[in-house]
């Protein structure tokens, strides 16, 4: 984007970039430093030696997987439907879906609490998976629909001419083409499900059901907030997501680029 033919301009650009990035790195450094205060690496061993810890990671993974599956299934079918098929009042449905984007999680608490306890889903992972999926779908459908809009119609027409019905067109033709946006959806949904705090806090009560975002709680006493271990727990919780993103970064970028809102 910028002229980089001269060495001097390259150096200037590099410096500007580094300076801009410092405020982003600063809190991360503070976080790690804070987690090592006091007992140092012993903070990490204490957090890691929590007996419930592996189970928490497993539960978080189950929640993330469940949400991703539901969201992917609903999103890709809906994107296909909105973009390529005929529906009466299509835009009305679409706007209804988008309107749900405006819902903050806090608003869901009272009704969810009443419903979940009544249907007996309390303290089960479903109490977290379904609401989370419902909250993510509007945005992912938005992204995916844009992407599918970009797939040329003749491609699908050709499949029809060859006699494929809708389901086969979807499965064999559309899905492979939508891999980039599916990757973007997977990354976004994974991040949001892994990091969710409020729903597990209220609806998951026993250690065999709880997720990893509740770990810092163990170190928040009534009088003694063990900040060092809270930060260590925070670093440990964040690590899988950071690693996952770093590895999948290219696919994510490509997916967003392809589905990008131009």
């Amino acid at each position: 984007m910028f002229e980089t033919r001269r060495l001097r301009s390259r150096i200037v650009l590099q410096i500007v970039l580094t300076l801009l990035v410092v405020p982003f790195a600063f809190p991360l450094v503070a976080m790690v430093q804070g987690s090592l205060a006091g007992s140092g690496w012993a903070n990490y061993t204490t957090v890691l030696s929590l007996p419930q810890l592996p189970r928490f990671f497993v539960n978080s993974a189950i929640v993330a997987a469940g949400v991703i599956l539901i969201v992917l299934a609903c999103t890709m079918t809906a994107a296909f439907g909105f973009s390529k098929l005929s529906i009466r009042g299509k835009e009305i449905y679409f706007w209804m879906l988008l309107a749900a984007l405006t819902l903050p999680e806090v608003v869901l608490l009272a009704p969810l609490f009443a419903t979940i306890t009544q249907i007996g889903a309390y303290n089960t992972l479903w109490a977290v998976i379904l609401p989370l999926a419902a909250l993510q779908i509007p945005f992912t459908v938005l992204l995916a629909r844009n992407f599918v809009d970009g797939i040329p119609d003749p491609l699908l027409e050709a499949a029809r001419i060859d006699g494929a019905n809708t389901v086969r067109t979807f499965w064999h033709l559309l899905l492979p083409l939508t891999r980039p946006i599916m990757a973007a959806v997977v990354v976004l949904v994974f991040i949001n499900s892994w990091n969710n705090f409020l729903l597990p806090l209220l609806f998951l009560q026993t250690p065999d059901q709880q997720t990893v975002t509740l770990v810092p709680q163990f170190f928040v006493g009534q009088y003694n907030n063990d900040q060092t271990k809270v930060l260590a727990a925070a670093v440990l919780t964040g690590l899988p997501v950071v690693i996952a993103y770093t590895c999948l970064q290219r696919f994510f970028e490509r997916g967003l680029a392809a589905g990008a809102l131009k």
Binding site: F113, Y122, N123, Q205, Q222
Partner: protein, 444 residues
């Protein structure tokens, strides 16, 4: 035919008792039960459970500590479902676990209390507590703790270093703080707003202005915008300007910020109540220091309770005010109701339970005639701390002035807001007091 019908009826009845309702409640001396509370901390709770198991080895208790701020939000869905805790702690009022909110879910412990302590059990325990936890004639929870406030805690080493003695008047206090500040230290550090400890500070000031006013206001006999309250708020607001209160008070939290700073030896004095006595013990202080993020070699401070100074200058004596702190309630839906009742009553109703609690020093026992056994408690600096602790404990035992009993969440929030307003200089004392009264009036 008759036999078949009878068999069917029995079948149906036994089927009914298994689901939802608690059935016969299980055995009173065996079972696995869960206990949820915001207090005490895990290590103290473990001591209490261990002592319980010496008497009842076959009841396994799993303690779950929920942060104070989330307690009410977490408890509601739990109790509404069928998977709630067997025993849950409730408070006499306030924002976390108020007994009024959760009374419908609790099992009536009246008969069991009578069985344990006799028909006149109310005369054997802290009266205000027994009343607070009886809702509509049902004994909703068994109290086990009483706490008080109206004191300051000082860092003895810091005072000694500058040859200062604890202040007894406002002028004293200003001077003491000047000395500390000119040596690069803070003075009184407090987190104003949010958690509510500034309510105690305001209460102590009000007691200095006019003893007995606060209790009357709590009971609704006096107004919150009374000149006494206005004067108290004015004095509190002055703390920022006359150098007593550290700056930034409205932006920090009592827990963890002030707590960590004081216990790691950075601050000369704080306003905390009798629960803070636990940090005079070596065990609790060590745990607290680890949590504060300071190296293990940090020297352990000697903290000492001192009376709140006479800031109004009228010579009114300093008094300790106290409230029922917490009580154990039993979930009416619990399938292990009887074992849960055994545990719930044990902590507050038996000498063994109350002794463990008393020796932890974070709460005062509610069963009459139980006192901490000082000889068995390892203090950081016994010669200095023990006499003062014994004084405070005696005052707490005899205290009959309420702390916040009857103050609901809305009113507590209003007082927090008023404190923040005057301390940050954004509100005049008159306006702040008027706002408290408005909140009290709007409240049903």
């Amino acid at each position: 035919m008759g036999v078949a019908l009878a068999a069917l009826a029995t079948f149906a009845l036994s089927g009914c008792s298994g689901s939802g309702s608690a059935g016969d409640g299980g055995s009173a001396t065996e079972g696995n039960i869960t206990w949820w509370s915001w207090t005490p901390d895990n290590d103290l709770a473990q001591r209490e459970i261990d002592a319980f198991n010496q008497q009842y080895p076959n009841i396994k208790v799993t303690y779950k500590k929920v942060p104070n701020a989330d307690y009410t939000a977490v408890l509601r869905p739990a109790l509404a479902s069928n998977d709630g805790p067997d025993v849950f702690t409730v408070a006499a009022g306030g924002r976390a676990g108020a007994v009024q909110t959760f009374a419908p879910y609790a099992y009536d412990l009246g008969p069991s209390m009578e069985q344990l302590l006799g028909a006149n059990w109310r005369s054997k325990v802290y009266g205000a507590g027994a009343d607070a936890f009886t809702v509509k004639g049902r004994v909703v929870a068994a109290q086990f703790a009483k706490v008080g406030a109206g004191i300051l805690w000082i860092n003895k080493e810091m005072f000694d270093r500058f040859h200062l003695s604890p202040p007894t008047t406002l002028a004293d206090w200003v001077r003491v703080c000047q000395t500390f500040r000119s040596n690069g230290l803070g003075c009184l550090r407090e987190g104003v707003g949010g958690a509510g400890f500034d309510i105690d500070t305001l209460h102590s000031i009000a007691n200095s202005v006019e003893p007995g006013y606060w209790a009357d206001a709590l009971a609704g006999k006096r107004k919150w915008n009374d000149p006494t309250m206005v004067e108290s708020l004015r004095i509190f607001g002055e703390f920022t300007r006359n150098g007593i209160l550290d700056e930034g008070a409205v932006g920090i939290q009592q827990y963890p910020d002030v707590n960590n700073d004081f216990l790691s030896g950075k601050v000369p004095m704080v306003q905390m109540g009798t629960w803070y006595s636990q940090y005079t013990t070596v065990n609790s202080l060590t745990t607290a220091l680890a949590g504060a993020g300071v190296p293990a070699s940090t020297p352990k401070v000697t903290i000492v309770p001192v009376p709140f100074p006479d800031v109004a200058g009228k010579g009114n004596p300093n008094t300790l005010f106290a409230d029922p702190d917490a009580a154990q309630a039993v979930n009416a839906k619990s399938p292990h109701r009887n074992a849960a009742t055994t545990f719930a009553l044990w902590l507050g109703g038996t000498p063994q339970g109350q002794q463990v609690l008393a020796d932890n020093l974070d709460s005062f026992p509610t069963l009459n005639s139980i006192q901490p056994k000082w000889d068995g408690i390892q203090l950081v600096n016994p010669s200095v701390q023990r006499p003062e602790l014994e004084k405070v404990t005696a005052a707490l035992q005899n205290s009959s002035e309420p702390r916040t009993l009857g103050m609901n969440a809305v009113l507590q929030q209003a007082v927090n807001d008023a404190d923040q307003g005057v301390v940050s200089g954004q509100k005049s004392p008159e306006a702040a007091a008027a706002a408290i009264q408005t909140a009290a009036d709007a409240n049903r």
